[in-house]
Amino acid sequence: MARMKSWVLLVLVSILITGLFVGCGKKEAADQTTASALEAIKAKGKLVIGVKGDFPPYGFVDEKGNNVGFEIDMARRLAEDLFGDPEKIELVVVTGTNRIPNLQSGKIDVILATLGITEERATQVDYSKPYFKSGVQLLVPKDSTIDSLEDLKGQQVITITGTTGDAGLQKLVPEAKLLKLATTSEALQALRDNRGVAFAQDNTLIYVLAKQYPEFKVVGEPFAESEWALAARKGETDVVDWINKNLDTWLQEDYYYQLYEKWIAKDTPDNFDPSVWIKRP
């Protein structure tokens, strides 16, 4: 009986060891392909790109079920540059939590999904140059005298729990009292009822709200800024270089502004200067 047990153990251990070697072998193979990751994409005949499906106007699904948006147009231009055909693309809808795992496991070649640059993420992926910049600004009633973060000291400010506005304000103006709520509609109602002097939230949302509800206006310099970039697997520098080359061209062409006009301009207040978000030549 004892001999039988050790025999089983031996088999198990050998299976484990074999598994270990096979695993290593695969890793080496993967390392080799990264040397020419761009060639591998070309050989595949299509660019597989991770995009947002629920984040209008950047990446969302229209009423016909097509992926559309600011970032989707960018993705198609990348495919056009690589294959001469914007349709040689596979759009994979990703979420904030699964976009990096999807990239690392090879399900997608590139992330183009409102991905902000952070130090933590930079250890996981290689970033391109940024194509968009968002930050936190303040939504206040039209007649408010609040003009900057300084004015928030000792005042009650409305935020949404866990957002960059919430965390950033806590750090920059610890003297402000925060009324933390769960949803945008609650925050707006609280602002209407003067439960706080301002609502601090990401400016991609704040300007849209200011357009939608003319009783409010946006004030203050953006803070807790976050730059959005594309990301490729760690070490795939040829992919990143190729993306950066495209981004440079787009900047010269003022393509970001065209995209802004096409997708975002209708939702922002009159006289809004899009250089808050995008670079222009």
Binding site: G162, D166, A167, L179, K180, L181, E186, D193, R195
Partner: protein
Amino acid sequence: MGFDFNFIMEQIPYLMLGARNTLIISVIVLLLAVIVGIVGALAKTSGGRFLRLITGMYVEIARNTPELVQIYFVFFVFPSLGLKFNSFVSGVIAMTFFGGGYLVEVFRAGIEAVPKTQVEAAKSLALKNRQIIVNIVFPQALKICLPSLIGYLIFILKMSSLLATIGIVELTFVANDVIANNFHAFEMFSAVALLYLIMVWTISWLLGIVEKRFKYEL
């Protein structure tokens, strides 16, 4: 998915702030709700027809609409009616409203369970109405309804977790706030559940002592 014990240790001051606020608001609400419950029960059992109707309507609304809706109503709707209270006061008002509604029925059931003969005996001794209620009916009613009263007081304490939605920094709010920034849901909700358990156990233990004394005295 590991359990990061050190993380909880770091959060203890914030958790204690939340626990303190939960206790403060619960104690205030419990006292107010007991007063509302007793007054309402007396109105319902020995008040005039109009008073009975009003109390009946109050109890129906308080018990048959969701607690969360009542909290939102006080916080988001009252301001349009010109009644603006801060988060804390709004929370106390809403919780006293539904807590009181439940307790009216608890006390009413207790009062009605006191045998009629007790009242008749008191009347035959020429006691005044007030004396009958305060000295004869009410002490006996309290003894009868004490077990279910304890249950509802614990229910009210737990309902204070809903106040996180209007930004009151109580225990559940603290958990949500920390998780939103640090993603330690396992640790935070475990810690918060444990703290609620401790609070509820303490309250039931204290009320249990009261219950025992009542058994001897009456």
